[in-house]
């Protein structure tokens, strides 16, 4: 592998990593506030992608305009998920896994019924083409997605650290009982978290659909990616998630550069297994900065 290929893989992996950060944040926020693992996370993103595809092929609008639409479209589901998660029995982590395994199957069936098993891609011409920068070829679509993802993540960071509701969400995540004792409305904070996380998932879905083909069973890989990132970064550490996301994107790009794209999914699963074994404590540690 030449030095140029290596540099190319590093850059495009880092761009992809910004998107992974956006994708993993929704998972890790819900885990932080509810101590529940949402295995249907990836399926929700795929659903957002399909909605985006459907609107794009019907209207011909620029995909970036559809990002907020798909984000808003998942809001009702956020309330359904919250209603279900409120009723989870102990041990919450395990029972949430089982429940969302079922929800994931349900979502896959619905997507299969609505869009059949066909592969879909938002192949907008405005996203193809590439820029050349110092001898490196940058895929324009990936660049736009990375910038969009960074903008959303940056906005979220400001929201969580500088606003009242953001502090309420972080406090609830850190210690629910203590937050409630201090007069924070933890139920409202939980609802905020769900709404926000589902918006992020819908937005991530549209961006994902411009990068990758969608298919109804494709969500599990995204879920595993989100779990890997959460293990690497810890729950609620926004900056660490960004670092971990970029690292994961680079690892993936190097895998693809060496072994071809067919090892991608397997490497994600392998990283999950190794990370779990290496860090056999719990995941939910709460937000800390």
């Amino acid at each position: 592998m030449s030095l140029n290929t290596l540099a190319q893989a590093l850059v495009s992996g880092a761009l992809l990593g910004c998107f992974y950060t956006l994708m993993a944040l929704a998972f890790s926020m819900i885990l932080g506030v509810t101590r529940a693992l949402n295995l249907a996370h990836g399926d929700l993103i795929i659903l957002g992608g399909y909605l985006g595809y459907w609107l794009w092929s019907g209207s011909g609008l620029h995909p970036l305009f559809l990002v907020p639409v798909a984000a808003a479209a998942l809001l009702p589901l956020a309330l359904v998920w919250q209603w279900l998660f409120d009723r989870l029995p102990e041990p919450r982590e395990l029972s949430s896994l089982v429940l969302t395994f079922g929800l994931s199957l349900l979502l896959q069936n619905i997507m299969l019924a609505l869009w059949r098993g066909e592969y879909r891609l938002i192949a907008s011409e405005s996203l193809t083409g590439s820029l050349t920068l110092g001898g490196l070829r940058l895929n324009q679509g990936r660049l736009i997605v990375a910038v969009a993802a960074l903008l959303v993540v940056g906005g979220l960071f400001l929201g969580l650290t500088r606003t009242r509701w953001g502090r309420a969400v972080r406090a609830t995540s850190l210690d629910r009982d203590a937050a409630a004792l201090l007069g924070i409305n933890v139920d409202a904070a939980t609802r905020t978290t769900f709404l926000l996380a589902f918006c992020l998932s819908g937005a991530a879905g549209v961006l994902f659909a411009t990068l990758h083909y969608l298919y109804p069973a494709g969500g599990i890989e995204l879920t595993l990616l989100a779990i890997v990132l959460t293990i690497w970064a810890g729950v609620g550490r926004l900056r660490s998630v960004l670092v971990a996301g970029i690292l994961l994107g680079v690892v993936e790009a190097l895998t693809v550069a060496w072994g071809g794209p067919r090892w991608r999914e397997t490497v994600v699963a392998l990283m999950l297994l190794v990370s779990l074994l290496a860090r056999s404590g719990g995941l939910a540690r709460g937000w800390s900065h």
């Binding site: 989870l88 041990p91 079922g102 349900l106 069936n109």
Partner: protein
């Protein structure tokens, strides 16, 4: 089990034994019920592992290892009976391996590790083309041979695999019963309920965990080996499919965690409702019962997963 229960069980068993002649050895129905019986076998072996406190999200790994092992052995010229047994051994080894590696993981994190484990094997089967045939898989796996000392109708074609899958289910249920009524069951329950206290009392948890994994993996892999001989092909996405991880979990928890017959009954019921009632009319939604059963079990049915850690197992006597 009370007397009515025993009579009911006897009736179900008798109905299953005489089903093939009743349907005139109809290949499609025999295939469907055989698959349901195999799911019953995997669900019961899933339950065996759950009895020792380990919730698996990756039984597709064991099912698929057994399937590939048996297919390769059969294609290499081994008799299908030996090939299926060999596949079972490979599945047991694969299961013991993940049990050993994840010795320190509990609950949800063990579940995630097994989920990843199954995905890894699917990837290996996809990519190790020289052995596994890659994405296209392997074809031409011979059917089970007929047995000369039995009437031809009962061992030929689908009927042979039907009776073998029924036999597997009976054996795994018998093993589960034996486990419940022996020191093995006590050791598993001790590991499940109070791991630390058990180790203080001299029950070292790790060997029991690995044994539970190996037993569970063995029977799931036997089912996988028989399955590939039934369908004649083996493909990564078919045999390492996530459904072989999801469905045993659904069936076992829906039928009753830690109960002797619940998982097998739920497997037969759910699978046949899905394939016979829903698939012909609403094909896109024929898997709906599994998803709904899982959601209902977690949220409303007492003795679901929470019973695993807080209550005495139901139906253990």
């Amino acid at each position: 089990m009370g007397r009515p229960g025993r009579i009911g069980l006897g009736l179900v068993a008798a109905a299953l034994v005489v089903l093939p002649p009743l349907t005139g050895f109809h290949p499609y129905y025999l295939y469907l019920v055989s698959t349901a019986l195999l799911f019953g076998t995997v669900a019961t072996s899933w339950n065996l592992l759950a009895y020792a406190g380990q919730i698996s999200f990756g039984h597709a790994a064991f099912f698929g290892l057994g399937g590939y092992g048996a297919a390769l052995a059969s294609l290499a010229g081994l008799s299908p009976w030996l090939a299926i047994a060999l596949g079972g051994g490979i599945g047991a080894l694969g299961a013991a391996g993940i049990g050993l590696a994840s010795a320190r993981l509990r609950g949800a994190y063990l579940a995630l590790a097994t989920l990843a484990y199954a995905e890894i094997w699917r990837g290996v089967a996809h990519n190790w083309t020289t052995v596994s045939g890659g994405g296209e898989g392997l074809i031409g796996i011979p059917p089970l041979p007929t047995l000369g000392w039995l009437p031809l109708d009962f061992t030929r074609g689908r009927a042979g695999s039907y009776y073998l899958s029924l036999a597997f289910l009976v054996v795994v249920v018998a093993v589960f019963w034996g486990m419940l009524h022996s020191r093995l069951g006590l050791a598993f329950a001790a590991v499940r309920e109070e791991e630390e206290r058990a180790s203080l009392l001299g029950v070292h948890p790790l060997p029991w965990k690995i044994l539970a994994f190996a037993l569970s993996g063995f029977f799931s892999a036997l089912a996988g080996g028989l399955y590939v001989h039934m369908v004649g092909v083996v493909e990564p996405d078919l045999i390492f499919s996530r459904y072989f991880s999801i469905l045993p979990l659904v069936m076992a928890t829906f039928g009753g965690l830690h109960t002797l017959l619940g998982p097998a009954m739920a497997a037969l019921g759910l699978y046949l409702v899905s394939e016979l009632l829903l698939h012909p009319y609403v094909p896109a939604f024929h898997q709906l019962p599994y998803a709904l059963a899982l959601i209902v079990v977690v949220l409303y049915l007492p003795g679901g997963l929470s019973g695993l850690f807080t209550r005495k197992p139901r139906g253990a006597a």
